[in-house]
Amino acid sequence: MSLQNFMNEAISPWMKEEGPDSDIVLSSRIRLARNFAQVTFPIIAKEEELKPILDFFNQEYAHQSFKDYRNLELVEMSRLKPIEKRVLVEKHLISPHLAEHSDHSAALISENEQISVMINEEDHLRIQLYYPGFQLEQALQRASELDDWLEEKINYAFDEKRGYLTACPTNVGTGMRASVMMHLPALAMTQQVNRMIPAINQLGLVVRGIYGEGSEALGNIFQISNQITLGKSEEDIVEDLQSVVRQLVDQERKARETLMQRSGIQLEDRVFRSYGVLKNSRIIESKEAAKCLSDVRLGIDLGFIKNVSQNILNELMILTQPGFLQQYAQETLTPDQRDIRRASLIRERLQLEKK
């Protein structure tokens, strides 16, 4: 697997598999923050301290296999063009932080892109593992095994009292951030999401937009994750998150049903208008595209639209991001040019579905 594969396909191979509740939960993710015991954390470390970590990964882990994940690819950030880094960010394979701090940083990525271990991010290691649909427990189990595999050769910074030691006090303890990506169009349409967010926050969970902290819930996609990392076990954190996600799934289903009963024709109209916009527009901004994609995905889930794959939302949400558009065009584009490109890309993609 070469870097080119990570760049060309908008949708990661693991996303193509269907997971439980995938009509609402797009993906589940576990992220573990880990550090080398003897090395200063990346934020204040000198270059000569961080380079050995990268070298160590090149030596010990590049092209190695962990379980079924064969031939792990070590992608060094300093060798990538800005647009290529942006593409990896848009695919959630690396964080914006890693893209910005490229000296001696890298990501160890599995062929199906389910695993991405970021090296020399805010912490020395950020282990990320994705599963399609609602599978937090499986993701935790697998991430923990990956963590054990890495620990065989690395002396982790761990303290009996404080747990895994991290650069930021908000990650100490388990170092774990568990999160799910949810598509909640009916709850958003009926204005219920805004009322639910404060309640969710009170449970020690955070609700964010698709591209993390501070980002907007583009396309009615919400990311929900744990805030607290200290004092609770990984299993308890996942369980708490799961029970909230489970309730949100139920609420979203109920809201969809109610909408169908009370204003089925309006809903159908909205879905097909959005479908029409995507099929016919020549210029489209990312915000409008996201809104229409969310409507179309809902239309697919509700059975209004047939012969279009569910993945269209995930795929086109990523594919129509600025980095991807430019990677696709193989040149730098102005925002106006991007809006034109985006429209034609969406039209092409929907044409493809027809066959």
Binding site: D147, Y164, L165, V172
Partner: protein, 180 residues
């Protein structure tokens, strides 16, 4: 509720300002909040954190005299990475694993605020870095179990657990002996 600045988007940022006893409420959308600079502190985690770290500093100003411990803490410097407490409070990040020991006595209040009152790890123990912590935790848990069994007067079960504890303690002794 609509945003009181642009009157277009829904208000998602709600702030209550209290300045010298005057209370004002602000309801704006995220964009306007950013433009107007509302809630800069509530949005930047860093600012929020460094605010937390300086907590006892702020109270000491209002009471007129700074306690000696605070003054001292500000000069504390991590022997490994050189980060001072002041610098730590500014960037809101530790410099290395040793910082946790260096600033230990200042950390409980911070962790309590960030992690809903928790200050102690209660999760995974790494296989190697955890040393014999696994074993000690298991003994602790068995002892707890033993007490419960005794309370319930289930002595036969209790005897079994007691034997398990003895075995584990012996194992721990052997391991520690091996280390020396």
């Amino acid at each position: 509720m609509e945003c009181q600045e642009c009157h277009q988007r829904p208000a998602t940022v709600h702030l209550t300002k209290v300045i010298n006893g005057d209370k004002t409420e602000i309801h704006v959308c995220e964009q306007c909040a950013k433009e107007k600079g509302y809630g800069e502190t509530s949005f930047s985690l860093n600012d929020l954190l460094s605010g937390l770290f300086n907590f006892d500093h702020a109270t000491s100003i209002s009471s007129g005299t700074a306690p000696a411990s605070t003054q001292l803490a500000k000069q504390v410097q991590c022997p490994k990475c050189g980060l001072t407490y002041k610098e730590f409070a500014r960037i809101g990040k530790f410099g290395c694993a040793e910082c946790y020991k260096t600033f230990d006595e200042k950390l409980n209040p911070i962790f309590r605020r960030v992690h809903s009152g928790n200050t102690q790890h209660n999760g995974k123990i790494p296989k190697r870095a955890g040393g014999n912590l696994h074993l000690r935790k298991e003994i602790e848990q068995k002892k707890h179990e033993l007490h419960q069994l005794i309370d319930r007067e289930e002595f036969e079960e209790a005897a079994k657990v007691r034997d398990q504890i003895r075995k584990l303690e012996k194992q721990l002794d052997d391991e520690q002996g091996g280390d020396v």
